[in-house]
């Protein structure tokens, strides 16, 4: 009983006993963040392929590989949070329509197997065949396996690659929207929690996913160009900046409208949410997400729409804007996941959350899951370098 009195020090007002400790920590913050990056990166890639925005060509393959690298990691924070990796398959073995997470397993599988892997395969098949003939040793063997034995690179076969890849991308666009809209649904459908329960949640999640994914590809493109010591295609960067600006406006307005709606309705939960926003979430919501993650990037990107300064000014500002957006969207997830658990269902009290450094739910663990996709991406870029693809 004594330890209960110690814990009660971190509580304000009246809360129920099972609300003292947060069930979902930083790993659950990472999960919608990483999934969002996947969906956003894929949508940027589809702009080039389906909507024929040719100027985005230099980032097309990078966007696809980024989406794959992050998708492979997206589920891992969840599994490490649950702590029983050997049981992870069970959710897929006996799914039930009443389980939102089980259905997510299938949305995820569909997107990974039927969309992303196939699209990349169709896209790279000819290069895989050529590379499997040119390279030696282990790389040659890997390329051979990746061709799946389809080594026909006659014009007719290549035409089929193009056609089938295109169909997959067209299917992929709604799939990517569905994937991340569904993450929003998982939060938005929790009617017991007034901070989460809004029909806007899937839309807001989707738009912030697009924002973060586009910013990530922009960021990666600049970093990789720097490492490879090649010139950045400024027309491409400006075009990404234009889309980022557009989606950021949509995201910002929808999120603001959602809040305006909440404030004007002022339901019974409003008082506690007001205290939450002006108290525990001041830094993460108003400063990190609002000011740094949204307003400053909007001002930078909006300024470029009015007058385009010279290249050496634009480059660092694009870099700054994309980093700030990535930072801000992380805190958007944080405010949803952590914020939604800080207040009591009684609407009369708060608990608090302190992120530990070590441990399975700590900062270092989260950092590991955040670094892993970048390592996978470097491996993918080494194996399937977009810049070595034959122009066709």
């Amino acid at each position: 009983m004594e330890h209960l009195y110690d814990i009660l020090n971190q509580v304000d007002g009246y809360i129920y006993p099972n609300e003292i400790a947060l069930q979902w920590g930083i790993l659950i913050v990472l999960y919608p963040y990483i999934t969002g990056l996947v969906a956003g990166a894929f949508i940027l890639a589809s702009l080039e392929r389906v909507f024929k925005v040719k100027v985005l060509r230099p980032t097309y393959h990078l966007a696809l590989l980024t989406a794959l690298a992050f998708l492979l990691v997206a589920g891992l924070p969840l599994i490490s949070h649950l702590g029983h990796p050997l049981r992870a398959y069970e959710i897929l073995m006996t799914p039930h329509f009443s389980s939102a997470m089980a259905i997510f397993g299938f949305v995820y599988l569909w997107y990974l197997m039927a969309v992303l892997l196939l699209e990349i395969w169709f896209d790279y098949r000819r290069d895989l065949v050529i590379w499997s003939q040119q390279s030696t040793g282990i790389k040659r063997r890997i390329y051979k396996i990746l061709t799946l034995g389809v080594t026909d690179i006659s014009p007719k076969a290549l035409e089929w690659d193009e056609k089938l890849g295109y169909i997959i991308t067209v299917i992929g666009v709604p799939s990517a929207f569905l994937l991340h809209g569904y993450v929003g649904f998982i939060f938005g459908s929790i009617k017991a929690n007034p901070w989460w329960s809004t029909v806007m949640m899937p839309v807001i999640f989707l738009l912030s996913a697009m924002v973060s994914g586009i910013a990530l590809v922009m960021f990666m493109y600049m970093v990789i160009s720097r490492i490879r010591k090649v010139k950045i295609d400024m027309a491409c960067l400006d075009e990404i900046g234009k889309f980022l600006f557009l989606v950021l406006i949509l995201d910002f307005t929808l999120e603001s409208l959602d809040q305006v709606h909440r404030i004007y309705e002022a339901e019974e939960s409003f008082e506690i949410l007001h205290l939450l926003v002006t108290g525990k979430l001041t830094y993460t919501l108003l400063i990190f997400q609002g000011l740094m993650g949204t307003v400053i990037p909007l001002l930078i990107l909006g300024f470029f729409r009015i007058s385009l300064p010279e290249e050496k000014v634009r480059k660092p500002l694009y870099f700054l804007a994309s980093s700030l957006v990535l930072f801000g969207v992380f805190f958007m997830r944080w405010n949803v996941v952590i914020g939604g658990q800080l207040f009591s269902k009684s609407f009369l009290g708060f608990t608090s959350f302190k992120l530990g450094m070590v441990g399975l739910e700590g900062f270092w663990m989260a950092l590991f899951w955040m670094i892993l996709p970048f390592m996978i991406l470097s491996l993918l870029l080494w194996l399937l370098p977009p810049w070595k693809k034959q122009l066709g």
């Binding site: 069970e90 073995m93 169709f122 799946l148 389809v150 026909d152 076969a157 089929w160 690659d161 089938l164």
Partner: protein, 152 residues
């Protein structure tokens, strides 16, 4: 049919087949017998030790206390909320080591200490430090089974 599909379609079919085979072996045998869960888990849960006897069992012997309790503010409480889980005592009257009989200011204060966030109309609140400091325990004056009866 394009060459790509000649490889991909059998590959996907193989993947689905492997999934179905794995699923067959991985699903527990009793799954789905009664509903969307493992039926054997019912027996496993049923053999777990019982900790709470329940009010209806307590009042079979302690009818005097039960009668008092029914007429009072604490009527809605179950005996084991204050006295602790005591299925062992219900099975064997002589096992009393787990019985809680605490009338201290801290114990009663868990519900009745002043807390601005607690609704007054639901729980009566007293300042457990200032309230009759000359007495040590709440039960020196109050009978918890009939809280408005003040002892002399």
């Amino acid at each position: 049919m394009p060459v790509q599909l000649k490889t991909l379609l059998p590959l996907f079919a193989l993947f689905i087949l492997l999934f179905l085979i794995a699923r067959h072996f991985l699903i527990p045998e009793s799954f789905g017998k009664y509903g969307h869960y493992r039926a054997d888990s019912m027996d496993e849960i049923a053999v777990l030790p019982i900790h709470y006897a329940g009010k209806s069992v307590c009042i079979e012997c302690h009818d005097t206390e039960a009668e008092m309790l029914e007429s009072d503010q604490h009527a809605g409480l179950s005996c084991e909320i204050c006295h602790g889980p005591n299925a062992k005592h219900a099975d064997d009257y002589d096992v009393k080591e787990f019985l809680v009989k605490d009338g201290s200011r801290i114990f009663c204060g868990r519900c009745h200490a002043v807390n601005a966030a607690r609704k007054l109309e639901n729980v009566i609140q007293v300042d457990v430090v200032e309230h009759h400091p000359e007495k040590e325990n709440c039960t020196d004056c109050h009978n918890p089974h009939a809280v408005w009866e003040i002892k002399e």
